[in-house]
Symmetry: C2
Subunit: 242 residues, 2 copies
DNA sequence: AAGTGGTCTAGACCACGTA
DNA sequence: ACGTGGTCTAGACCACTTG
């Protein structure tokens, strides 16, 4: 099982792999506690320090969460994580506010060529396309288009389920067992289209901040494509560099 | 000196503080080697593991750089760091290319109210304002305005020194002993002004990605305000979320 | 009181770079 | 050969949570 040979991968890295496998296989679900460091050490026949180093790496990647005196848990998507890690829009004072979401349409379609490529799907695969408008302090601020592979989100958008919560990732996790772990965002300045302009109450051609996001699971499978067009008159996208 | 009392700050955190102090005081300059973990442990009368933990934290913050077999070094600004950590613009294929910079003007002025606030200066403090245009593959792509407190950059912009290198942070470090450690960026979509439009060869009103950056030193003193207006037709701003 | 994570130690050995 | 960082161990004690 675990091997400690000359020139091989460090033990703690192998353990990281084992832990990730047990999480993405669903053995340990989001929010659940995992065995204590001591018990994992016994099970894997390594020292506690080595297990600890592996866990530390996963904590830094937001995969696990430590709670002193209680144990180590698989991270889950709550409103805090949504705001802290997956939402970079703030008002002009730098304060984050989670906007309300209001679904405009939700339809099953065949993926466009570009959508299929970005989600690593076969051409013409069935997808769910959601259009929603997000309001901050009752003011329409972001127009969003969300594309999901229909096969992974069975039942979404049929019947009355077009009412979606604000924190979609929490819903993906609870209803579909899909945990978003990582996202790549591409930002551009674009002109508001006719559609954007009318939903956001702006003139056609107004500059909007376009954020195209591809969100992936722990095992790096893309499961959501999201394009947000944001009115940055009273808000901006905040990023910190080190 | 170091205290290990009940309920006090952990030893390794205290050591982080000591190391940071010795770096920002200039005792260890960027690029220089610091004492080995063993020697620091002896000097501070703690175990090597504790020193190691402190250093690890600084390595993760890009303050120190470890080189196996050689030693631990104070990080410096080279082209790699500029590209990897402080430059998020890529072409449409996701490839980073450091653009050329061409200074348009470089003048000493009094800080505007908003500039003084952002750089934490007294109103009317003397600043240096640099306008430059950045080209990628000979094509003007980014219009930049850079504001620096004159007191910290004595001599810059007088005489023929208006020729600036592409990697400014390397120059700040070498010529002025100022190391940029962290930056906050605020992104917006804006209309190209008359000035932007002519320098970038676009029509007035074209959407541009505005990036307002405040860069700070290790001891969190803001030393540069930079506003970039970027034509995102063939480029985008790339960001990764966890 | 018992169990968990968090800190700290002392020492062994490996991998790498330099001389 | 030597010194450096990198991994791993075994064990002690502290801080926190729960029963």
């Amino acid at each position: 099982m675990l091997s400690i040979n000359k020139g091989s991968i460090p033990l703690y890295q192998q353990i990281v792999g084992l832990l990730v496998a047990r999480i993405s296989s669903g053995e340990w679900l989001p929010g659940e506690i995992i065995p204590s460091e001591i018990n994992l050490a016994k099970e894997l026949d390594v020292s506690q320090g080595t297990v600890r180093k592996a866990i530390t790496e996963l904590v830094e990647n937001n995969v696990l969460t430590r709670k002193q005196g209680r144990g180590t848990f698989v991270s889950n998507h709550n409103i805090d994580r949504a705001l802290f890690h997956f939402f970079h829009i703030t008002d002009n004072n730098g304060h984050k506010v989670l906007p309300d979401g209001e679904v405009i349409s939700c339809r099953h379609k065949k993926a466009l060529k570009s959508e299929a490529r970005k989600l690593q799907l076969e051409p013409d695969t069935e997808i769910i396309k959601i259009e929603r408008i997000r309001k901050i302090a009752s003011k329409p601020t972001i127009a969003e288009t969300i594309v999901l592979p229909a096969s992974r989100f069975k039942g979404l958008g049929k019947g009355k389920s077009c009412e979606l919560p604000n924190t979609l990732y929490e819903m993906y996790e609870k209803q579909f067992g899909i945990t978003i772990h990582r996202a790549e965002e591409q930002l551009r300045a674009v002109k508001a289209s006719q559609h954007d302009a009318s939903t956001l109450g702006l003139e056609v051609g107004t500059p909007l901040l376009s954020i195209e996001r591809i969100a992936t699971t722990l095992d790096n499978i893309p499961v959501e494509l999201r394009i947000s067009r944001c009115n940055t008159t009273n808000h901006y996208y905040q990023n910190t560099l080190f």
